[in-house]
Amino acid sequence: MARVAKSATKAMQADPEGGVMRFPAGKVLRLDSGARIEGLEVAYKTYGTLNAARSNAILVCHALTGDQHLASDNPVTGRPGWWERFVGPGLPLDTDRYFVIGTNVIGGCMGSTGPASVNPATGEAWGLSFPVITIADMVRAQGMFIEALGIETLMAVVGGSMGGMQVLQWASDYPEKVFSAVCIAAAAKHSAQNIAFHEVGRQAIMADPDWKAGAYLADGVRPEKGLAVARMAAHITYLSEAALQRKFGRGLQRDGLSWGFDADFQVESYLRHQGTSFVDRFDANSYLYITRALDYFDLAARHGGSLAAAFVKARAVRFCVLSFSSDWLYPTPESREIVRALNAAGARASFVEIETDKGHDAFFLDEPQLDATLKGFLTSTAQARGLA
């Protein structure tokens, strides 16, 4: 599966099945913290065909617990890809027309270099010796990957939630490589509330005795209970109050109360299931690192506190910003702030708030208006890009 790029500057063909691209030791990934990663690995999956002009590539950036398996079965869970509703023939990210790329972020646990990877210098899992990463670092690694594919400009960079933050970072850091940018249900910075929820999750993991100061892999254990609690807390923030009420209300699992602490309510049972199924597919240290990257995200801070300044060089990029009316994790005002900054920077921006009660997670659920908007925007982008 693993492919070795002969030269990172020379164009290489991505394995259509996907795989892991390993960069030669000389091709160092420099991180915001000052640390360096040698022998970087980027796990990827592609859909559709790259055209001869290499002008039809769309990079999809995933959210906190997403991965590169956009539209094909996830090998770990056996479940369909997380964006199967949107990526495929005839779908908004039409694989008959576009070459759609998913990569696993660095710090992740689906094949890209992360805390569960082996540190080539020591021969052991990185664990907590893995350097703290940022959203910009994730994007820098994706940039190396895209360059290795020989793609100079991406027709679109698309992402929801943390993926949307990567989209903004892409447009800000590499405007010349981004023809259009679609930022869904995201924000230009993490709020105090966002950081607070993440801290609850991290504390749950670190309070689990099986976490072992991050060195659990060496002992053959995993902080499953802590990670499950982290996921449960986070999952609440992905749903709206209305959606929880609609799905569960005060519905009970069985007739009558247990007069104990079993999962009496359906919502408890649902959350427990979310927690336990999550630990089968996600690494606890990855969760710590990626939530940290999100908390550190503040695009304006790198530009003297002015978000507009972050986009000044991105004036030629066609932006599409989307939010969901019931999203309280990254609520609409956060998207409006992005749009106002884009307007102030003189960038070409579109924005729509999609009316839904499905909360933050609406970006991968059945939401016809999201479908129509994405399809319309990408079709017109393709036209502007000269794709037939």
Partner: protein
């Protein structure tokens, strides 16, 4: 093609940067883009309108002309267009001055409440006029700040704006250039279109 659109296409210079406030489904922006080669940006409150614009490849921001103009930088556009919606704004005076902060020129059209048909309807029926230009009953209309041609020219003067061009519009008729302060015009004009600039 709508007569006001034809007139706007005539007024907007080629390649200009244009903000269309209340752009609806983007019909005007599409014309301006294709015929005048302008760089158009829309502002529209309805999600359906925004979605239609996006599907046409137009840049549009969902927002409210009353609130969101404040966030556009000064001098960002050559033209700001407000087509038949000034009378629907909560703060028309503020909106008008904002248009001319954001853009060098504003193109504003609005129904004239002093048109003879309005006057006749009010005189004879004693009720709020319901005409082709203003078809809804008073309790359902979005037109909360109706005004006359004379009212508008007063406001333009108070704001220190200059009328560069002015035309009378009526359905199915070609736009007619006119002097907005002419006495008879306040009776004759159904809808007026202004090209305004800062003095």
């Amino acid at each position: 093609m709508r007569e006001d659109f034809r007139e706007i296409l005539r007024l907007v210079t080629r390649g200009a940067r244009v903000l269309d406030v209340g752009c609806g489904e983007g019909d005007l922006m599409e014309l301006l883009t294709h015929q005048n080669g302008v760089d158009a940006q829309g502002l529209e409150i309805s999600p359906q309108g925004v979605a239609a614009c996006l599907a046409k490849g137009l840049a549009v921001v969902q927002g409210d002309g009353d609130r969101d103009l404040d966030y556009f930088p000064t001098g960002a556009f050559d033209y700001a267009i407000l087509s038949k919606t000034l009378q629907q704004m909560r703060e028309p005076k503020h909106v008008l001055s904002e248009l001319l902060r954001i853009a060098d020129r504003a193109i504003v059209s609005a129904p004239n409440f002093a048109h003879w048909r309005m006057r006749l309807s009010l005189m004879s029926r004693g009720r709020m006029p319901e005409t082709k230009a203003l078809p809804d009953p008073w309790w359902a209309t979005a037109n909360i700040h109706l005004f006359t041609l004379r009212d508008f020219t007063d406001l333009v003067r108070d704001l220190g704006l200059k009328v560069e061009a002015c035309a009378a519009l009526a359905e199915g008729k070609a736009a007619r250039p006119m002097n907005p302060t002419g006495m008879l015009e306040n009776w004759r004009v159904e809808t007026a279109l202004f090209l305004l600039s800062k003095q």
